[in-house]
Amino acid sequence: MNALTFSELFRLNEELGELLREKEAISLKILSNVTMNQLKPILEYALRSESLNAVAEMTSYDNILQESMHIQGKAIPVVFWELCNLKSSFAFEIEYYTPEEISRYAEKTTKELELLFDNLRQSPLVIFNRFSHILFTNHTITGNNFERFVKQLNDFLIQHAPPNFLLIDLDRIFSAISLDASVDLRNYYSSKVLYTVNFLKSYTSQIVPVILSTYAKSRKVIILDCDNTLWKGIVGEDGWEHLAISDKDKDGIYFKEVQCILKSLIKKGIVLCLCSKNNAEDVEEVFQHRHDMVLKSDDFVIKKINWNDKASNIREIAGELNLGTDSFIFVDDSEFEINLVKEQLPEVKTIQVPVKLFHYPRMILDHLPLCFSLSFTNEDLARVQMYQQELRRTTEKSRFQDMDDYLASLGIKVVISEKNPEEMERLTQLTQKTNQFNLTTKRYLPGEMQQFYQSSHTDVLSLSVSDKFGNFGITGLCIIKYSKNIAVIDTLLLSCRILGRNIESVFLMEIVKRVYMKRYDLIQATYKKTLKNGIVESFYDKSGFALLGSDNDERRYETTCRKFLGNARPVKYIKVIS
């Protein structure tokens, strides 16, 4: 919600409202003595994105007590009772009032509060703000009349508010986002709009979990990616021994703290799962050998370590746990995965690991209210075991939605360029670093790459990828060597970040086209097995190359351009620019 502009939120809220129209409405009534109209779309949006058909209604301005008489049934009142506006300029006038006058106001207000308590005693939940003086006292360290008045009424509130009243401490929001960001005095004086959209968003994120929990809508499962989510580094490329997990390693502390937070959640009955594109053995190695992992292998109820798309994996987890995906939180560092899940499973709450890692633990903390539960029972605590038992009984179910639709929606563009001098350094680096999608895993030094660039018998093609969310930069390389009438693919590699989008087959097709344009027909290629590149073992087989022969860890393939291009099926949703 915080990433959305107000106008986007406004529109999305309306659209969500349309989508959820058929569902039973959750009614919220906003009662206030300041103008709070912008709270309506924000609050509705926050609840609607949790698929509740929330309908917030502004009641008449500065008429809290009378309006509270009309609130019935399950409607949840949200009350903004600003003492500064008990009457116009009250916070300033009170400073010259006599003690008698002040106590008359206190008495009048407590009476009204008591009436309000009575009127709202039947509501399932009442969101009521503790009074705050800070807007009018933060300029002085000694107290003033208004501060004492506010304290007196807060004491009354705490002592007398019925149990269904949830008292929100606005000062916490003020200190989190600053007073300046919370109020807009310009709008207050012109139209009694006291709070900014920023404040309303923060306020909403505080109260929404509470509202959700009253509708049994809290999140119960957190699904995590591994690389750069649970630890810093890529196990498949860096090896388990080089991952940063604890404060011994640079950046490790962020991941350690995140693991600590997650560990504490297990105690509260939250279920943790893994969903990672990796070799399962690599991940298990981390658990076995890295004793500085706070989270242990057993802490995860389900582990989906495979190369399937994550939306399918999450659906399977839902099936196995017998829980709706609307109780899931999904954490991943990849924008691609996050967006795939958002698109295919919009009800899943997604958290993307922030680029600035020092935000990461705080970001997880900020989402914890989503797991908030008013009633905390032994059943919750036993949930982990229960799920594990349930798991044995369920059979695997795989559902597969149309991936192509999703991929098409991304607007993927690939740019193929040839011997661009500016890319030389990066391409050399790619040969050094790429382990998984790398057919021959030949490591080259800058000098060697330079020779390729200069030789007329060698093609060096780079691949850059972007989609509507951003640019991945240079993420692929192909080196082709020409001799007599044969073109040999010396190197073909792609960064793992872009897999799962069929970019590899587009790249191969472009490579073959180029060879053909150079009036070569015969192409030879090699797959050289390493510990890490199992993922491309059958890449050439699947691409229609003929196996010539194999020995030890090497397989040699061949095809002709004509045959390849004759059989190739173009990937329509990827735009190629060269």
């Binding site: 502009t5 106008s7 406004f10 309306e14 912008q38 012109s190 139209s191 709009v193």
Partner: protein
């Protein structure tokens, strides 16, 4: 900039972007009332990173004037 303003207006006034033409004004858009105006101002300030003064808020009487006032603001701040 025009596109951005049109998108904002279509969002806060809940109409298709095609409805936001040169002549868009409170008379052509039912949701452009005082509350709609507040939402418009909030969004413009947020998305253009500007702060409008009281007078400018009042001057935004129609689409063309919204553009004009934003231009004025951006010019003053650059």
């Amino acid at each position: 900039m025009e596109e951005k303003v049109r998108r904002i207006m279509s969002s806060v006034f809940l109409v298709d972007i095609e409805k936001i033409d040169e002549n868009a004004s409170p008379e052509t858009l039912p949701k452009w009332d005082s509350l709609g105006h507040l939402n418009l101002i909030t969004s413009i300030e947020e998305e253009f990173g500007i702060t409008l003064d009281d007078e400018q808020i009042i001057e935004m009487l129609n689409y063309k004037l919204v553009l004009e006032v934003i231009r004025e603001c951006l010019k003053a701040s650059s």
